[in-house]
Amino acid sequence: MLRRPLIYLACLVWAPVALALEDPKTQLKDPMKSGMWDYHQIELLGDPENIRFDDRVIVRGPESAEDSLNVPLLVDASGIKNVKRIIVSADYGPIPHILTYYPEKAEPKIGLRFKIDQATAIRASVETHDGQWLIGSTYIDAAGGGCTAPAHAYASDDWEEKLGEIHGRLWAASGRARVIVDHPMDTGLSDGIPVFIIQNLSFESDEGDLMARVELYEPVNEDPAFSLYFEPGTLGGTLHVKGRDNNGNRINGVLSESETH
């Protein structure tokens, strides 16, 4: 009978200390009330002081993930000037960091797909060149299991031949580029299958100017698919896609306005 009160007492003594250790420099009121945001604010963003939730960072996805291996997401921070990078993350999941987008000459807006492991808040943390952090959120319900399942690719024998195959094109008039790269994107969380992911993809103009860049992490979906957005009329006739995976495989392709088939 004495045991329980003792535990309560222990909690009373320890809780304030533990909380004090984990408090971020700037405590925010999380609109998603997910319970994990403070932690990610410190671990993922490096505990910045100048940080707040901002409605101009729009994160759009389905209410519920029909396919936990391919959850679509659209992050739109085009209401904010001076964006340096956007960190997209999930509050709950074995690997929170999904990707970091460096818009460079593109608009701070990206369409992506990712693997979801359970129902969770999804965040887009925008860092501006003058050191502000502005956060947007959405909530996606999911049955889960997306991060711990083996890639579909291994169901077919020819996955190695297709590795690095790129489908895509651009639409200069509307300022859109769409790219899909064939890759298993193994998270390392499935038994006996080591991490095997594309780590970065860059988009360059004909002149070799860096137009946009994506750093990918394990939760990005198998066969990563991105939509990039540019101010209409600013895209040349082609966009060069260059990348590398963690096994050293190079990824190369050229997006153009070629006819769809």
Partner: protein, 313 residues
């Protein structure tokens, strides 16, 4: 002792109408309606699975056979199957003596457990798919329906049925082994009443569901169904159709769906942008919309997009 569940039940009883009380206690309210001589239908909700409807979203047909009733599709759970057993005995004291599953989706065969000692007929593809995918469907159904699913286990069909003229418990059917909604979709023409039982190849005023769909094959199957002379049609979901409107409606929706997704891919749209596109009024009014459209985007768009976008290396 007052348990939490009991307390919740009391809460439900006090605050809500009698029907809601039944739901709080997880009781299926099944009402068979006679639609032809010796044929009854239990019409499902046209909504998606929910804790409110307990997954009772599917049409069930009961038909007189020589030794008892023939049951077409068995519902989403063991509890539903048990409720069907009770309802069937009110129509025929001998109850259900044989079962047919039109395809392997969980709302159509998870009630099989209540009839596990009777012959359960289906296409070979359905039998294989029920065995392969049944357990993952069960995971999803427990999550969507919670306690409604208690005790439900996957009981795949046991007897393979082929196309052509077949007798089930002395009742004559013409069986059409089709597909496209799933790998195997069985349609039956009941010879006695001229009723076409389509399973989920046809939806009526309820958006077609596409988690296992092959759209081209589905359209071919609709062509086959269109040729059948029938006095009435019972779709998998939605009301009885006596005006031959359900097949063209399903065909129109599937055509629109594929066109919409292909056009979006050719214009560089991604899934979130497509999901935000408003539906045409005629489809927005269907049961389970826009949720079913959103799910279809998730099921179909990644594949369609790869077909539409050119290679870039």
């Amino acid at each position: 002792m007052i348990t939490r569940r009991y307390a919740l039940g009391l809460l439900g009883a006090g605050a809500l109408a009698p029907r809601a009380f039944a739901q709080a206690r997880h009781v299926y309210d099944l009402t068979p309606v006679q639609i032809a001589d010796g044929m009854w239908m239990i019409e499902g909700s046209t909504d998606y699975f929910s804790m409110q409807n307990g997954g009772a979203i599917v049409n069930i047909v009961l038909m007189k056979g020589d030794s008892g009733l023939i049951l077409l599709d068995s519902g989403p759970s063991l509890r539903y199957g048990e409720a069907l057993t009770t309802v069937a005995r009110q129509l025929d004291l001998r109850g259900v003596t044989s079962v047919v599953n039109t395809h392997h989706h969980p709302d159509h065969f998870f009630g099989n457990q209540a009839f596990a000692d009777r012959p359960i007929y289906a296409l070979g593809e359905t039998l294989a798919a029920a065995k392969a995918e049944g357990e993952s469907f069960a995971d999803a159904m427990y999550r969507l329906l919670g306690d409604w699913m208690r005790g439900t286990e996957v009981v795949p069909p046991t007897q393979v049925i082929d196309g052509g003229n077949v007798m089930i418990d002395g009742r004559a059917f013409h069986a059409l082994p089709l597909g496209g909604h799933t790998a195997g979709d069985l349609a039956l023409v009941d010879q006695k009443t001229g009723t076409l039982l389509t399973g989920d190849l046809v939806f009526y005023d309820r958006a077609p569901a596409t988690p296992s769909a092959d759209l081209t094959r589905w359209q071919q199957s609709l062509n086959e169904l269109e040729k059948v002379e029938a006095a009435q049609l019972v779709p998998g979901h939605g009301p009885v159709d006596k005006t031959r409107a359900a097949i063209p409606q399903t065909r129109g929706y599937l055509t629109w769906l594929e066109d919409t997704l292909r056009t979006a891919a050719r214009n560089g749209l991604d899934m979130v942008e497509i999901m935000e596109t408003p539906l045409p009024a005629e489809y927005a009014a269907m049961g389970a919309e826009p949720g079913e459209f959103h799910r279809s985007v998730a099921h179909l768009f990644p594949g369609i997009e790869l077909q539409e976008l050119p290679r870039a290396n």
